[in-house]
Each structure stands twice: as C-alpha cells, then as structure tokens.
C-alpha cells in the first residue's frame, strides 16, 4: 500500500522526470485499475440506458400501426357505408352487442360477423383457402356481413368495403378499460384496469407496511437492548431473503382463505391479499433504511432532549424521527418502488381479473402480473408483444418518477438539518 501510494503522490505533486520513470509502471497500473473500476461503476448506467432504449423502442412500435395483424384484412359488404371501425366497435359487432348497423351509421341491416371457422363444414380444418373463398362469397352476397380473411386470399378487394382500423394511440392505451390481447381480428388493448390495480395494491401495501416498519425501526434504534436487537434484526432480514414464489404460495393457501372467511367474500383472491403479501415483502427494506437514518441522528440531539426532561418516547417522536425524516421517506419510497415491481407473489394471490377494481377486496390485476403471465407466448414482433413492452415502459416511468421524488425529498430535508 505504502509503496503504491508514494510514487502516485510524487507524480501528482511534481512532474519532474526521475520520478516519472520510477512511477511509470505503477502509474499505468493505477490507470488501468481506475479504468476497470470506472467500467464496473458505469455498467449500471449502461444497463439502464440500454433497457430504457429497448423498452421504449419496442413499446413505441405499438403506436405506429393499427391493432390488426398485417396479414389480415377486415372486409364488409360493398353497400356498407362504414369505413373505419375501432377495435372496441369490432368487438361489440362480433359478440352481438351491436346487432344492427344503424347503431353506427344510417345503414340499416342486421350484423352478420363471420370468420373462416364458420365455413369449415365438410372440409379439413387446415384448408384455409376454401374457407376463405366461402367467406368472401357470403360477405359479397349479404348486405350486413362483415368478416376477415388473409390478404393473400382476397383476390378482388374492389368487390368489398375494406374496413380500416385506426392506429392505437397512447390515450386509448392508457385509459382503455378492456384488455383482450388475443382476440381476432382487432386486438383490444387498454391498460387502465391494470394501472389502477397496481396503484390499489401498492397503496394498500404501504398503508400496512409503514406503521409496522416505522415501529420496528424506532424500537430497534431507540429502545431495544443489544440482546433483543441481535434477535429481531436478523429475523427481519430473513424476510427479505424469502423467494417471492414462497410468499405467493403462502398467500394462496393461508391468507386468501382467511380473507374469504373474514370478510365473507365470494373469493379471497383480492387486492387486499396482494397488499398483505407485498407489505410483508417491503417491511425489511423500509426497516433497514429507516433504522440507518435514525441511527445517523447525532447523539447530542437525544441528550439535549433528555436533559430537558423529555421521556424516551417523546425524544424519539419529537426529535429523532423528525431529524431522520429524509432517510425514512427514502426508505418508504424505495419500498413503494419494490411493491410496484413485484410480480410473482402478486400474480398468485390477486386473482388477475383485468377489470377496473371496485375496491381493495375485489379481484384485480397488476401491470407486472400481466407481463409475466402473457409474455411467454406472445409471438415476438406481434402487436401483443409490443403492447407488453409498452406496459414495461409505463412501469419504468413509474419507478423512475418514484426514485426522483425520493431523491428530491431526501435533498430537501438534508439542507434543513
């Protein structure tokens, strides 16, 4: 250490030649080490940028084309005046919610929504060409008919009304309440229910976790004797080490039936079950950061307070906690970040209904659960795949803003102290 440090100092202090010669090799080595250390430190920066770039470029593609697969054409009878339909309208036409075209325009004809499966009778299910030809004949002959075929089989497009579907825009994506990513022909992609689901579960988790964590942190830092500390601290840390799948399983077989009986629910798979599990998972994060913050409060503050006749609790409550508030809020916000990002445990206990939640006791779906459950089989480069990446980008923005807020808060209070 000493031999290393000496030439460094010399070479920095004066640039005379004899020292440079002695320190040359060492200096190169120092430079290399510094470069290696810099590289390790910048890996995180690089990874974040690469990830953000990938998320936003893949997810952004969703907004550049229509939610109909590029090989498919939606066609209606030539006499139909409708030219543009949204995915939601197509869904309603298909499921029979819209029964007559006069709901959408002044064209009066009953809706016949067909797909090639309707024309399979008497042929092999693989013979797409025959089914398509039958479908085209049907649409040509029936005024209220609408259907979809492969572009390759649509030989005379001028005989039909080609229906256009507008490009997905960020507004409908973020505020749409229906999520049917695999329906043909036009995929319905709205993530509002999942954004709300994520918020409900996260807020629930914070409400449950903050009092417990703050209580533990204050106890550990202000009240506990060293014996008690040596028992409680490691146990809390073990909580952080349990795999989330284990939390999920525990939640599914213990917490879910318990909530079901307690609140007399149809099903205990609910936002609250997710919040409880998440609260358990983020307690260690909040406790350890808050405890560090409490410990960092100068001893003199405590002594001054006690000398004025305040009790231990009054000192903690009125002096130590306010002094450490920046660290505590950072801990809470990092807990929020972890809660938003947690996937597996939540996926297993919340029921995952993609519906706008009525309350914390109803089944709901989070953004992360959607990605985890659906990415496996979404064909790469497809619309569904891009939509899942766009969800990833939304999550990224969530966590980023929380980290920025955490930073601002800790800076603001640091100055005051």
């Amino acid at each position: 250490m000493i031999t290393k440090a000496k030439p460094m100092q010399h070479s920095r202090d004066n640039e005379s030649k004899p020292f440079q010669k002695v320190g040359g090799l060492t200096r190169i080595r120092e430079r290399i080490i510094e470069a290696v250390l810099f590289l390790s430190a910048s890996t995180a920066v690089f990874v974040i940028f690469a990830m953000a770039f990938y998320l936003f470029s893949e997810g952004g593609k969703l907004f550049t084309h229509s939610p109909v697969d590029e090989y498919i054409e939606i066609i209606a009878n030539k006499s139909n005046p409708v030219e543009v339909l949204t995915p939601l309208e197509i869904g309603d036409l298909q499921s029979g919610k819209i029964r007559n075209w006069n709901t959408l325009s002044d064209f009066d004809a009953p809706v016949h929504f067909v797909n090639t499966r309707d024309f399979m009778e008497g042929t092999s299910p693989d013979n797409e060409e025959v089914h398509s030809r039958r479908l085209l004949d049907f649409v040509k002959a029936t005024p209220g008919a609408i259907g979809y075929v492969f572009k390759d089989f649509l030989e005379r497009p001028e005989d039909f009304r080609i229906i256009k579907v507008p490009t997905t825009d960020p507004g409908t994506f973020l505020l749409g309440s229906q999520w049917y990513p695999t329906v043909e022909p036009a995929q319905i992609l709205g993530i509002l229910s999942m954004i709300l689901g994520t918020l409900y579960v996260t807020i629930g988790a914070i409400v449950l976790a903050v009092p417990i964590s703050l209580g533990s942190a204050i106890y550990l830092s202000e009240f506990a004797g060293s014996r008690m500390r040596s028992i409680i601290k490691p146990v809390i840390e073990i909580l952080a080490g349990i795999p989330s799948v284990v939390y999920g399983f525990f939640g599914l077989v213990v917490i879910v039936p318990f909530l079901q009986d307690l609140f007399n629910l149809d099903s205990g798979q609910s936002g609250l079950a997710g919040s409880i599990i998440l609260a358990l998972m983020i307690v260690p994060t909040i406790v350890s950061i808050s405890e560090d913050a409490l410990k960092a409060v100068p001893k003199t503050l405590r002594e001054a307070s006690l000398a004025l006749g305040a009790t231990k609790w009054q000192t903690s409550y009125k002096v130590v906690v306010p002094a450490a508030i920046s660290g505590i809020s950072t801990g809470v916000l990092l807990g929020v970040g972890r809660a938003i990002g947690e996937t597996m445990a939540v996926l297993m206990v919340t029921g995952n209904a993609a519906v706008i939640p009525e309350g914390i006791l109803s089944s709901l779906r989070t953004l992360t659960a959607t990605i985890a459950a659906e990415l496996g089989e979404a064909p790469q480069g497809g619309i569904h795949f891009e939509a899942l990446f766009a969800i990833g980008a939304v999550l990224f923005l969530f966590t980023l803003s929380i980290n920025i807020i955490a930073d601002l808060i800790s800076k603001k209070y640091e100055v005051k102290l």
Binding site: D69, Y71, I72, G91, Q94, S95, G96, F113, N115, T116, R117, P125, D126, E128, F150, D152, Q178, W179, Y180, P181, T182, V183, E184, S193, L252, V253, V256, P257, Q260, D266, S267, G268, Q269, L347, M348, G351, N352, A353, A354, V355, S363, R365, A373, E374, G376, E377, A378, P379, Q380, G382
Partner: protein, 280 residues
C-alpha cells in the same frame, strides 16, 4: 492459487459446454411447444431413445405459441400444440418457405369443474357460455344455491384458454371479471376453496378436491360425463385433439421415423398411459 483453481474450473466448464454442444449438433430431434402435450412428448421421447440409443430427442415446453414460432424460425423440427395453428402463423410460415403438416397424436377433453359442495351436476354449452361471458352472475339462476359465480380462467396465452374460448364462447369474449390463473394447479386450488367457483381444466388433472360437471350439447340433449370412452367416441362436447406439427416431414428421415413410432401400437399405448386418449 485460488486464481489457478478458478481458471481450471473455467476450462473444465468450457469443455463440458463444448461437449454438450457437439452431442446436440448431429442426430438430435428437437420438439418444442405446448405444456399440455409436454408430459406425453417427454414419455414418448424417453421410450424412443431407449429403442434407438444413437438418437437424441430433446423435448421442451413453453406453450403452443412458442412451439409454432420456433417451427417457423426453424429452431425446432416438431412443434407440440394443443390448438390448431393460427392463420397469422401459417401465413408467416408460408412466407418463410415452411409448410406446417398437422399430426393428431392424441385426444383429450376439457372438464368444467366446480366446488365439491355445488349441487349442480351438469350444464349445457349455452349455460357455460352465459356463465363465462358474465351473463349469469348467481348460481340460483341455474337452480343452484344463492351464491355469486366466481370465474376461473387461464391466462390468454394458454392453449386450453384458446380451445375453451372457441368451443364454448365462440365470438363472445370472456367476462372481464374472470380471474386469470397462471396454471391448471391454481385453477384447481382456487375452485376448491371458493364455493361459487367454476373453472376448466384438462381431464387428466381432475381430482377429488373439485367436482367435474357433465356437459350437454344443448338443452334437452343428454348430459355426458367427461370419461375417456365418451371423449374417444366423440360424444363429449368438450373433447379436443392434441397435435404435433412438422415443417414438412418428407425431407427429414428422423422426423418421419419419429411419427412412425408415435403412431405405432407402443406409441399409442404410451398415450393412454399418460392419461390421454389414443387416436388409433
């Protein structure tokens, strides 16, 4: 010293990887796709490799869509699916010069399951549609107890989900309030602890924790029990076929030989052994 041993370990590891890569290279038949077909394909591969020790069959899961995607990308020779290949997939395949060939290797049925204490024994396809699309919300509308209906569906990427949607719901969508479960196991677990619960699973997964319902094609027709002989004869309305797609077998003798084995008496005996229904 520790540096030396780390280096040695690295070299050994690299050699191992190289060795596996070589083994993988030549006579390997790759099969990939549906998790429903996976246990069957694995067992078939096991027996096949015992008969032909010089050949290697690598079977992996991932889901029907993953298998078809790999077939199109020429990353696998055979794709397992529990659904027919989709239009967009076959279009993509044709553009890449692949003509997927369908092989029905086994039959399977989907059982609708409810809580064991639910008094209802059978439902028609129309009633199932009304339940799963959210039109019927309480069991008393079907003559059951006054208990809200809780739907348990599978995630949208599952082949079982796709089959059930086609066979029962048709052009209607699943109710938005349907809970999406990440696997057959969690459907069974959830239905077993929810009095108003209803879900759907592969026949092979039925156990005592839940009650399997009989299904009738329409009101007035006979309620059929989801048993193998009923699926085999085709009278059970929720029977389905399990497939393996090849990318044009005639060129690859390994693939041709594989299907000869699958359709042999021995291969079809394995189908029955796994809990599915043979096709010949």
């Amino acid at each position: 010293m520790s540096f030396c041993s780390i280096r040695n370990a690295t070299i050994v590891l690299a050699l191992c990887i190289l060795l596996f890569a070589c083994v993988d290279g030549e006579e390997a038949l790759t099969i990939k796709g549906s998790d429903t077909v996976l246990p069957l394909a694995q067992k078939l591969a096991e027996v096949y490799m015992k008969k032909h020790p010089e050949r290697i069959v690598v079977v992996t899961g991932g889901g029907s869509g993953v298998g078809v995607a790999a077939l199109i990308e020429r990353n696998t020779k055979v794709a397992n699916t529990s659904r027919l290949i989709k239009k967009t997939e076959s279009a993509l395949a044709q553009r890449r010069g692949i003509q997927p060939v369908r092989h029905v290797i086994a039959r399977d049925g989907i059982t609708v399951v409810v809580h064991p204490e639910n008094p209802i024994d059978g439902l028609t396809l129309d009633e199932l549609k009304a339940l799963f699309s959210g039109r019927i919300r309480n069991w008393k509308e079907l003559g059951g107890e006054d208990e809200n209906v809780v739907l348990y569906s599978r995630e949208v990427s599952s082949g079982t989900y796709a089959f059930f949607k086609d066979a029962v719901l048709g052009k209607t969508n699943f109710a938005q309030a349907a809970n999406l479960m990440p696997g057959t196991g969690s459907v069974v677990q959830s239905v077993s602890q929810t009095r108003g619960g209803i879900g759907y699973i592969g026949v092979a997964y039925l156990n005592d924790k839940v009650k399997g319902l009989n299904v009738a094609k329409q009101a007035g027709s006979e309620y059929i029990e989801p048993r193998s002989e009923h699926i085999e004869s085709g009278i059970y309305p929720l029977g389905r076929e399990l497939f393996q797609y090849s990318g044009g077998i005639e060129r690859d003798s390994l693939v041709r030989d594989w299907f000869e084995f699958v359709y042999s008496d021995e291969g079809q005996r394995i189908v029955r052994q796994i809990g599915y229904i043979p096709v010949r």
